[in-house]
Symmetry: C2
Subunit: 414 residues, 2 copies
């Protein structure tokens, strides 16, 4: 499915290292200016004689988009916000890069023929472009959470229908993906995703209740966006990842486990029926899972710091505490419920985290708001089967409105 | 290559669980009364409707051999020592199990048509029967160290020629085997075997120098035979395993690493060029690697205790100390030298460990004796290329004589 860069092309450039020949030749990066997008282009830049970047897109970071399009010599640069078209066009003038803007242009960018698309648009906005890329078949490196959390069944049907080769791009699911090759579902006892435990891991409930925004944003191991950092602090992030794992791997909900591992070195463990446990470890660096998505089943060199366990000296593990981190239970319940429940969970969580980042609510209110939104959505018949992308998007929008209503009413019961 | 128990056969017995159908139907166990052999028969006993034991063999534990042949309803039981034939025959009288004795009978047992042979004869005595089994093609679960340590190149040529499917049966190499499926050699940065560090891990050199036999036999995690337990205490065991790994996996000597990990939970780690590290973990129980050898690429249920990392709480790692454990350096040098050097190393180590167990020498003398035997063997032209099994066996015998000479002379320089 993946076309390898031809040997001759590698030799012609004087780059005969094996890894240069094992990377897909033509790559599009949806969401090129975010954290994953930037890491992807950094990695591709280190293999530039073997990889051609076709399209790069961004929502509104127009200057950064233009710069990265120029740096990687993309064919097409698309800015989501149509109002920024002129600015993009000016920034790219004199280059051969075609500027475009708006949602239709994002879809068109996603549909350009490539060997691999890295789908790294954050949030519900990523659904349509990512599905458009999946429908083209080929390889999809998936970093957008909503495709699996909110639209899991619908998205996976699209993937299967198109014969798309889906490779997850985040540490935990990439880890499981690397481990689970060849494993048949009867052999798997369970899949354990690890969680750092976030900045509040060792805090008693009372202290978490009084935590400030700055404290929630101090992630011990990873440097990520504010939304996902808060999700790590509440551990909702790990709950969402359990839902993703359910769609990606051949297991049932009760085979999905979570383990707190403060060092964030072990990303996932898979236990088999013979007592064997396979785990993936790496220094926290998204360029490793991106490299896996680009070059699997081979491997391409990535500049991730080499793991030195003798220096790290110890890895510790502890159970996740659902009392202090009720988001875990909420996510698990939504996962078991299925249908649009995870979409409501995710939408309510986005509203809640935004309100938290604006200083309007405290940490425990995030889970409380999500819980009350889920209850309220249930009563209004919003939690139902999910038959198509439009149902999901409508549910997502309605759940946001509902969450805002719950938020406006106040009186959240944490 | 492996014939699965037919579905119909499983159904006929009323055993329709998936694992029962994924185990090779006909299995021979060479060295059935030792530690690995006993674990193999225990595991097979739990899947008895799916597995037929064809032949079992032992060196001299005649009563135990007869009992296990009766328990597993083998077709053939072979005792290595011909003097014990009568005793075996009597013990099996009234059963349908054929008794036999002597080296030729061992070879014949190894050549009976089966789906999988577990080759668990300890020491150089295992070379010929194991090679005989390998020559039949089919699957070979290899627990004998000498085939790879002493006869590596010769043995691997036999395996390749016969199209034998070789699966290592010890914790570290089984771990690497499970991890390395599909990996191409260009992707591998290095392979790290873990070592418990043995009972002397934290001891200063002076205390190790005065250690008693009882102290050396107190392995922190594994219950094994005396020879291998002493090898763990000197860490020669891990050195021998590096040599085995060199023959089993597509790496060079400088890609083979060792890491002390006192809990013996992580058995092997493979680092890839993209920064990803895959590891295998399990509670120490040989039934896990045996299950892998029997059922790969599927998995069969094994009674190994489930790994509970939250309960274990921490895994620690430290560098191996070649000053206190000079056997590591000796093994590495023999590995790099190649040819018959590892055979000399192994033979000298057996003599040295036997002398230690007899109370004739102290712990540091083991490595000293091995080192002096290697030097002496080199001077006498014993360290050379290894072209066939006979050369290896001759070298093994000569190295033993030489080691005994060095031992008799005394004055070992530790």
């Amino acid at each position: 499915m993946i076309q390898r860069a031809a040997d001759t092309a590698c030799h012609a450039h004087g780059h005969v290292e094996a890894e240069h020949c094992d990377v897909p030749k033509r790559v599009t990066v949806l969401g090129a200016t975010g954290s994953i997008g930037t890491s992807t282009l950094d990695l591709i830049g280190r293999h530039e004689h073997a990889v051609e970047v076709i399209a790069v897109t961004a929502h509104s970071s127009v200057e950064k988009l233009a710069q990265c399009a120029l740096d990687c010599r993309a064919e097409l640069a698309v800015i989501g916000d149509p109002a920024l078209y002129g600015q993009l066009k000016d920034a790219l003038s004199g280059s051969n890069i075609k500027p475009a803007a708006g949602n239709d242009a994002l879809i068109e960018a996603a549909q350009m023929p490539v060997d691999c698309t890295i789908a790294a648009i954050v949030g519900a906005a990523g659904l349509k472009p990512t599905v458009a890329a999946a429908r083209c078949g080929g390889r999809l490196g998936l970093a957008n959470k909503e495709c699996l959390v909110s639209a899991g069944n619908v998205f996976m049907e699209e993937v299967a229908r198109a014969g798309c080769e889906l490779i997850p791009v985040d540490s935990e699911h990439s880890a499981a993906f690397q481990i689970l090759q060849e494993a048949d579902s009867d052999s798997i006892e369970n899949i354990t995703l690890t969680a750092s435990g976030g900045p509040f891991r060792t805090w008693p409930l009372e202290r978490i209740q009084a935590a400030t925004c700055d404290e929630a944003l101090k992630h011990p191991n990873w440097s990520m966006g504010a939304k996902i950092t808060v999700d790590s602090a509440t551990m909702m992030n790990k709950g969402l990842e359990l839902i993703e794992a359910l769609h990606l791997f051949p297991v049932e909900t009760d085979q999905l486990c979570m383990l707190v591992h403060p060092q964030s070195i072990v990303h996932c463990l898979v236990s088999f029926i013979d007592g064997s446990v396979l785990a993936q470890l790496a220094e926290p660096d998204m360029r490793t899972p991106i490299a896996v998505a680009l070059s699997w089943p081979r491997r391409m060199a990535a500049p991730t710091k080499k793991l030195d366990l003798a220096k790290i000296s110890q890895l510790t593990f502890e159970s996740a505490d659902e009392e202090r981190f009720p988001a875990i239970r909420l996510a698990r319940e939504a996962m078991e419920r299925g249908g649009t429940a995870p979409a409501v969970l995710n939408a309510a969580n986005e509203v809640a985290v935004a309100a938290f980042l604006e200083g309007r609510i405290k940490v425990p209110d995030i889970a409380a708001l999500v819980g009350e939104t889920l209850d309220s959505a249930d009563k209004r018949g919003l939690v139902a089967g999910a038959s198509c992308l439009e149902t999901i998007l409508e549910c997502d929008a309605n759940a946001r409105l509902l969450a805002k209503e719950v938020l406006a009413k106040g009186n959240l019961v944490a």
